[in-house]
Amino acid sequence: MAHSKLGFNEKRQTFWGWILISPLCLGLTLWVAFPMGLSFFTSLAKWDMLSKAQFVGFKNYISIFTEDELFLKSIRNTLYFTFLSVPLQMITALAGALLLNSQVKGKRVFRTIFYLPSLIPLVVSSVMWLWLFNNQYGLINYFLHSFGINRIQWIDSKEMVIPSLTIMNVWNIGNVIIIFLAGLQGIPNDLMEAVDIDGGTYWHKFRYVMLPLLSPIILYNMIVNMIKCLQLFVEPYIMTNGGPVNSSLSFVLHIYNNAFKYGKMGTANAMAWVLFILTMGISLLIFKTSTLWTYYEGDK
């Protein structure tokens, strides 16, 4: 296509347009496209980062599915964590947001309390929860014990370790609450008044006004949290190192171990691509089904 059709002004505009977005383009190329390409290439190679890479084709992909039993186990652990965490987080956060949106006394104090955990770096809160969960001297077991309840092996037992990490994750929902709260406050008051006039209760307001109008925000929070949960790493890395008996070995921790502990960069990259596809698949699934339950104002 001939591009001499553009007038001088338009040419100048295009030029400056390119100049202004070039840092972004450069950044995307250097920090996103290039690493992704490199990661894909190394996923086809046997490479320990020290000696030369050897091209092996799709062998890494095949071997993680056929030879590595921890791979499937780590996926199972991660999915278990995600499916336990996301709904619990959604419900708790929504309840928290409703509380903050109502005329409750000491609202500001609650706001601070709910948001505070989000300000603590994950590594720090992990260490803190490590102490809380300690089965002998931890605060939680201390309370249970003083009520005559036997101590629970929180992160020391295979059954409890993922639920324990979930509890910790639910505690850390300040950001989700804030987004829900913003959504709730965006709901026009006249709709609420209409329910009042019709003699509806708070439940009616919630069920027929708030929930439909919040549905796009629920969708957003759900997807963002799902992706976060699938990338679970810091908590098991700091708190359990994947134990006991690999029952908290998350997918990303397994990738990390392969890359940096065992020097299997190729395998790790292949796993990272599997995670990418898995995340995309679940996101798409949620998006596709979301048309059934989300409501956008102005939509038909």
Partner: protein
């Protein structure tokens, strides 16, 4: 217009690479050399190493040393990750600690300076313990940072209260395993004052435990060896983890937690540091690495002692340590070697030894009474340390670090199997027979470096 865009990109790249160049050429004066020294450890170790480095600077005015400290993690994965990133980006330091399990791999890939000629020139080889030097295919590429091993500390007050006599310190005549367990039962007590074995003893409400063992790979070996077992042969091909002697040793350790209830259950990093428990009178004995003496020595008003490791069948000990290497990428091999020598010479860095962090690698500090007194006679090293620890080095075997893939064999297979024994899910026999087969089939047994 396309070309203009291209020119712009070129300029941008040139400018940014210019910054990189400018950063790389900081060293200006010709006679001043800057070395980077990398290491891990507890905050106390950090302070001790920094002191040694600045002493080195004082003695060598033309050399500056930049410390690169990484806080210690038990399995070294953070340190390894950092090292790999440095290696890939060509920014390795000059000298420093190195994780032993990665030593063979890096040596084989030519990342370390070969030390044989320098050692011969300076007459270094002979005067150090032979185990100190680490060779790959006949060439020396590194040295153990120190001689370190497994020790058993105890809390004097707790033992007195439980009516336990002073434990033996002669490593050859230590308690047998049964004697040890019976002592531990006397120390362990629940909140109602009952001991394990008493009719109403409540194992869920223990306020003081007999012992805590550090549960990570290097710390299993002395028990396993003491019982006549092994884990993987030094050839890197034979699996001994399902040998009856090995199984029995692991079962003995697990029984401390699950049968006798004299040791707190633990996995990962979930418990309060046993060192704290020991100092808080919540623990009688603590079996751990000798380097914890540095932190122990720093605790005020705490009366601790050292005992010989209990014997299953014969006395055993492990020689374990970080490695010290000179990286091949260094631009100043002579100065780097001088720093390495300094860090290995107890007469220059005596603090590191008197504080309890390290034990010397130089022979005379074991054989010569005067040299021995220099590092052992102080408030930090408890009485009996020589018989229980120093002398036990006579039977010490090096941690098998030259086995290929040893890190992954532990990570993918052995750790989980051993954990399932600790939590009482499987017996040692079940877990270890099962995992031995898996390891044999894993394709990871590829010999040794």
């Amino acid at each position: 217009m396309k070309s203009k865009f291209f020119v712009f990109i070129c300029i941008f790249v040139l400018i940014s690479s210019g910054f990189c160049f400018a950063n790389g050429q900081k060293e200006t004066s010709a006679d001043q050399v800057t070395l980077k020294y990398i290491y891990w450890g507890s905050p106390a170790e950090d302070a001790a190493v920094k002191q040694a480095l600045s002493d080195f600077e004082a003695a060598n005015p033309t050399i500056k040393v930049e410390p690169m400290y990484l806080p210690g993690d038990l399995d070294g994965s953070t340190y390894n990750a950092k090292m790999k990133a440095l290696a890939v980006s060509n920014t390795l330091p000059d000298v420093g600690y190195f994780r032993p399990e990665e030593f063979g791999n890096y040596a084989e890939n030519d990342y370390f300076l070969k030390l044989d000629d320098l050692m011969a020139r300076d007459g270094m080889g002979e005067s150090y313990l032979s185990q100190t030097w680490l060779k790959i295919k006949g060439n020396t590429y590194g040295a153990y940072t120190a001689a370190e091993c497994q020790v058993m500390w105890y809390n004097k007050k707790v033992l007195e209260e439980a009516g336990i006599p002073i434990p033996p310190t002669d490593y050859k005549n230590a308690w047998t395993w049964d004697e040890f367990v019976s002592v531990l039962k006397k120390i362990t007590v629940d909140s109602k004052g009952k001991h394990p074995g008493d009719a109403t003893f409540n194992a869920k409400d223990i306020v003081r435990y007999g012992v805590s063992y550090d549960l990570w790979s290097a710390m299993y070996y002395p028990s396993v060896w003491s019982n006549g077992g092994d884990i993987i042969g030094a050839d890197g091909k034979t699996v001994y983890i399902d040998k009856p002697e090995t199984i029995e040793a692991f079962q003995n350790l697990a029984d401390l937690m699950n049968v006798h209830h004299v040791m707190p259950r633990m996995s990962g990093g979930t418990n309060i540091s046993p060192l704290t428990m020991l100092a808080n009178n919540q623990l009688g004995f603590y079996v751990t690495g000798q380097w914890t003496l540095l932190d122990l020595g720093g605790m005020k008003d705490f009366d601790y002692g050292v005992a010989a490791l209990p014997i299953m069948k014969k006395p055993a000990q492990i020689y374990v340590s970080g490695v010290n290497v000179v990286f091949k990428a260094t631009k100043h091999p002579e100065e780097a070697w001088a720093l390495q020598k300094w860090m290995m010479d107890p007469s220059k860095t005596l603090d590191l030894y008197t504080s309890g962090l390290w034990m010397p690698t130089k022979k005379s500090y074991y054989t010569d009474e005067k040299d021995l007194a220099k590092w052992l006679n102080n408030d930090v090293h408890p009485q009996g340390f020589k018989e229980a620890v120093v002398d036990s080095m006579a039977v010490a075997i090096n941690e098998p670090i030259k086995i290929r893939n040893i890190n992954q064999i532990w990570g993918d297979y052995l750790n989980a199997a051993v954990e399932s024994i600790w939590i009482g899910e499987k017996t040692a026999k079940e877990a270890l027979t099962e995992v031995a087969e898996k390891v044999r089939k894993s394709g990871l047994l590829q010999g040794s470096y």
